[in-house]
Symmetry: C2
């Protein structure tokens, strides 16, 4: 039986499309120079990101009301204020620092890969970022999304199955016409459980090079394994061409 053609490719964003860690460190180092301070931004970036999953879990467990990711990021930053002595920053500067998530920079292959995919498929983020965050990030980094898909639309967060369902239902597609692409196995497992196709994108430097073994070990059980987004584009386009040829022959 011929496989259904792929119509859309949805992307996890933090770590998969953009390098949040280096982006935060880069802006942080500018603050250090500008203010003559010496905050350890690599460590702050790691702590900031580590606070994310527990915050999402508390919301999905019902312990905490839903809030947009911008608000969660700010709460987490405030928790870090004493550990990293952020008292030198004004409220306006803290708001600016929190907005770094709207300015995260893409991995070197991301824009080229997305542009290539866009010629053949609908492409969208399916990230836990709120709509404004994902929109501004795309403007700042020229990520050529066809549309923004955010769990903010249903006030939830991945890996709630309702988030993935929302995505393919809004697109009017069946789950197996849609690929979920991510550098994180948990995201792909949640998508696969609903019948979506999955693509693992290898991002060994997401955590600054500390986590290469984990990244390599998780390449199993996906429909596609890709070195980066350009590689994924090549694989998906090849699959589509082969499938069209098979249809013509069959």
């Amino acid at each position: 039986m011929a496989q259904k053609p792929i119509r859309a490719v949805l992307f996890d964003v933090f770590g998969t499309v953009v390098d949040y860690r280096e982006s935060i460190i880069r802006e942080g180092k500018r603050w250090n120079r500008q203010k003559g301070i010496n905050i350890n931004w690599p460590s702050l970036a790691d702590d900031w990101r580590s606070a994310y999953q527990p915050a999402i879990n508390r919301i999905l467990n019902g312990e905490k009301d839903w809030k947009p990711l911008d608000v969660l990021h700010r709460e987490e930053l405030d928790h870090l204020a004493s550990r990293y002595d952020l008292s030198c920053f004004t409220e306006e500067e803290l708001r600016e620092i929190n907005r770094v998530w709207h300015r995260l920079e893409p991995w070197g292959d991301s824009v080229t890969g997305l542009e290539k995919l866009k010629r053949h498929f609908i492409i969208a983020p399916l990230s836990n970022g709120n709509v404004a965050l994902l929109t501004n990030m795309a403007k700042n980094s020229r990520l050529p999304w066809d549309l923004i898909l955010s769990p903010e639309f249903i006030k939830s967060y991945k890996p709630d199955p309702a988030v993935y369902q929302m995505a393919y239902q809004f697109l009017g597609l069946e789950p197996d016409e849609v690929v979920m692409a991510a550098a994180h196995p948990s995201d792909l497992q949640a998508a696969a459980a609903l019948g979506m196709k999955t693509a693992y994108i290898c991002r060994p430097l997401e955590h600054g090079g500390h986590n290469i073994t984990a990244a390599a070990a998780s390449e199993e059980n996906c429909d596609y394994n890709a070195r980066d987004i350009v590689d994924l584009a090549n694989q998906l386009i090849e699959t589509q061409v082969m499938s069209t040829k098979r249809d013509e022959l069959g």
Copy 2:
């Protein structure tokens, strides 16, 4: 007091960005040739579109449950089936005809104007179309939206104020940082009532040239009056440049 800069421009789509009437007629004439039939597509297009507002009104009045626009379009097409003798079409062909709304073609200035606006502002449709319809239309016609905004996200329809509020709130913006652009005064009035900026786009040929007086008469009471989307882009960019200069001088 300096005006807030504009951050986003939202567009009505049917009639404002795309020429639904001619697009339906063009596809219809192909069906006539292909099937050797003689359906009056200009009249069918007018009747199909005329059924739209009453259907939306029944939903907003609570007489009818919310359904996506694709479903409303199909219901309206089925109502027209006996008047236009659509019995020569198979179910699959009727589905294809209903999908014409995903393939509507833009007015000559739309893509150029949107590309120009996109360099300075967030641009999105704020149309009553469902997400899949607006996404597929953008892919087919290369409308370069930054994101798709649809009342489907909150299961309502314009001119419900909640739809406009949803749009600027998702973008994290104040209403007066956002321009609503439309060829229809009722849409602009609803946006203005919430404090949004408004731009009237003149589309005298929306109804095939029957309605030029109405179009000309409604150019009042808007922040911007534009001949087309390129003209709107020029006006908004000029406003932005002037306001930046005033800020620098002030």
